[in-house]
């Protein structure tokens, strides 16, 4: 079980890295809007089928 003396400090290192990344994320504004992105992902910016129809409609006019 001596391997624990290597694995546990290694885990601590990863934890320290996590904390650093997390703090960076907070500072760079990743947590400023916690609601918007969840909705944003389901709204397509461009739906080819719709916009093509629109173009056709406009052409007709």
């Amino acid at each position: 079980m001596e391997i624990l003396y290597l694995l546990v400090p290694l885990a601590m290192l990863i934890v320290a890295l996590m904390v650093v990344v997390f703090f960076w994320a907070v500072r760079s504004g990743q947590f400023d809007d916690l609601e918007g992105p969840a909705h944003r992902i389901i709204m397509d910016d461009d739906r080819p089928d719709i916009s093509d129809e629109d173009k056709l409609d406009k052409d007709k006019k």
Binding site: M1, L4, Y5, V8, A11, M12, V15, M18, V19, F22, F23, V26, R27, F31, D32, D33, L34, E35, G36, A38, H39, R40, I42, M43, D44, D45, R47, I50, S51, D54
Partner: protein, 816 residues
Amino acid sequence: MLAKQDAECFHCGLPVPADTTYKVYIQKVKRPMCCPGCQAVAQAIVAGGMEDYYSYRTENAEQGQELVPEFLQQTLAYDLDAVQDSFVRHNENEAGDIREADLILEGITCAACIWLNERHIAALTGVKNIVVNYSTHRARLEWDNEQIKLSKILEAISQIGYLAHPYDPTRQQQLFEDERKQQIKRLGLAAVLGMQVMMIAVALYLGDYFGMEAQYEKFFYWISLGLTLPVMLYSAQPFFRTAINDLKHGQAGMDVPVSIGISVAFAGSVWSTFNGHGEVYYDSVVMFVFFLLTGRYFELVARKKSAESADALIHSTPAVAMRVENDKEKMLPVAELKLGDIVRVKPGEIFPADGIVIEGRSSVDESLLTGESLPVPITVNGNVIGGSINIDSPLLVKVEKLGQDTVLSGVLRLLERAQTEKPTITRLADKTAGWFVLGVLVLAVGVAAYWWGHDGAAWLPVTIAVLVVTCPCALSLATPTAVTAATSRLTSQGLLTTRGHALETLAKTTHFIFDKTGTLTHGQLDLQSVRCLSSASRERCLQWAAALERSSEHPVAKAICHAAETNVKSAENIINTPGAGLTGMIDGEQFWLGTPSYIQANTHITVSEDELKRLRDEGHSVVALADSKRCHALFALGDRVRDGATELITQLTLSGLQVVLLSGDHQQTVEAVARQVGIEDWQAECLPADKLSAVKTLQAQGAVVAMVGDGINDAPVLAAAQVSIAMASGTQLAAASADMLLLSTDLLSISTGRDVAKRMMWIIRQNIIWAIGYNVIALPAAALGFVAPWMAAIGMSASSLIVVGNALRLLRKPSK
């Protein structure tokens, strides 16, 4: 076919008035619209190829406003460099004139609005980047000033039905933002390290059962210590700081036992770690810190929301004014105005400062400050208040008071004072809780002293067992979990709680005080009835009246035009006498429309006094229509009572509460509304100070007052009442100082709120009884040394779970 079925406006969801023909093709279907405003907005959205908005949205949009040229002129002012100075950042790294600004968007109701705004604005040439923050309703905009002006962007936003103001973050706001970021960091750190400590704790628990080599146990102790230290030093800081503050002021808040509990548990664990034997409680420490921080974070977010609405209000007062000097007009920032300057204020504009009218006649909408629903006529030498709106015709105003000296700032200061007065009541509640906490602490010290004397080796484990077993977990969770559950239950019903104490106080309320305008009523002038006095039909009279009023922006005119709807005739040679009435030619005949005295002065026709009195007693303002021979009709205009107002008052009265109506409006109007909704105790023509003293008088008699209102004039009263509920559709500032916000249009949510608050208090009582009962059994057992620390930990967790589970019952809607 759809038009008949959907009586709701497809855009904003308001009912479509009968006989309207506003329609827009959306997604290949003809959709009904309630007004030209919504129609224009919907058309703009469709024309931009953004019909998807209607499939994505989860809430209706706000009713579209027809753009007034005055509004567009205001936005033009935002192009001036002097005005931009305060809120625009210049980006010098890139080529061209790249500028960046934050905007506040009004009218955002759901996530689809964000999508709509981003797509619409990003499509404009010259816009480099736009990102809208859904939580704060703020947009960060980057544009090339050589290609597009800011006013064009603001105009584009208004075309799709939103209003944008430049946002200039105050220092206070900046501090708030930093505070929130720090809280997230504390919470994140406690979560990440807590998980590691728990993982090691599981290994240690198992080691207790199955045996573990001493060297590994020791190693794990040290690792746990290393992981817990940052949590103690960084994450738990706020508790220690408040606890030290409390102790300095001689009080014992919940943070004191929390701090002592985690410090002692931590110190004991460190002691065991160094000695190599004994128990460690690192897992309890980190988990406790993590759970408490989570609660605090949600509290902060709710507070932040309310602070933002106040911020929006400050920025909705005008940023620019039109100064007149030697017959020349110059647009300049309000901040540059000086006392004695002459400013021109056009109809529809907001007065930039307090002043005296030196030229012109008009009427002024002061509803923001006085709650008075009808415009006040004003002539030369009349005083105008900054923040009120000019309605009829242009005025020249000499600036008399600026900035801090204005009436508006005065009201704001009144509000501030009322807010600082508030904590005295809250502190009292804290004190009672403090005594209990103190008792627990004294007991722990006693137990430690007793065991120190009797069994030196056992004193620490026993004291820790006492502290862990009585660790105020269940006690301190008893209230907040119930409050959180009740809060989220009410939020789903459209009643938002912004202060922790609100529900607690609402349950104890004895008096409900209502404001009239905008609270029990819609706060908008509407045509209530038409009294025909000649052979002409109601429709015909309305058409005549609408023809005269069509070009006017006066609320009376709007109400009449709105009611007339179709086949409006056209009138010529219209002459307007502000504050009295107007006259014009329709089909070659002259008509007069205005106050009865105006009619009498111009046509020598007297309007029947009885009829007038009857209508006025109902609380309506009366406008008469006449031609040169006879009076055709009387139009009764008034403010419509909200749906559900009568039921709400009935429910509140039935539960034995005193309901009072305090309004700044006229005697008759208030009386009529009071009678209609069934309030017996009412008072009219109240100034903000009168309302405040009425509340204070009631409080002095021992009443617990809940104030429901809206409007700036209500803000001090809202703050003085023990619990305040503001209509979120109303003035934003009232919302900022209120304990609860009613977001839905359903007034009955208020009585639901009271029911839930009462159930919450009952559940809190159950929880506290449980927590105390548990302590009464567990505490002596622990004090006598029968409880091992691990048993104490399990007992504490189980007790907390029961408390949380009990609180969750509040989320269920009661079956009727």
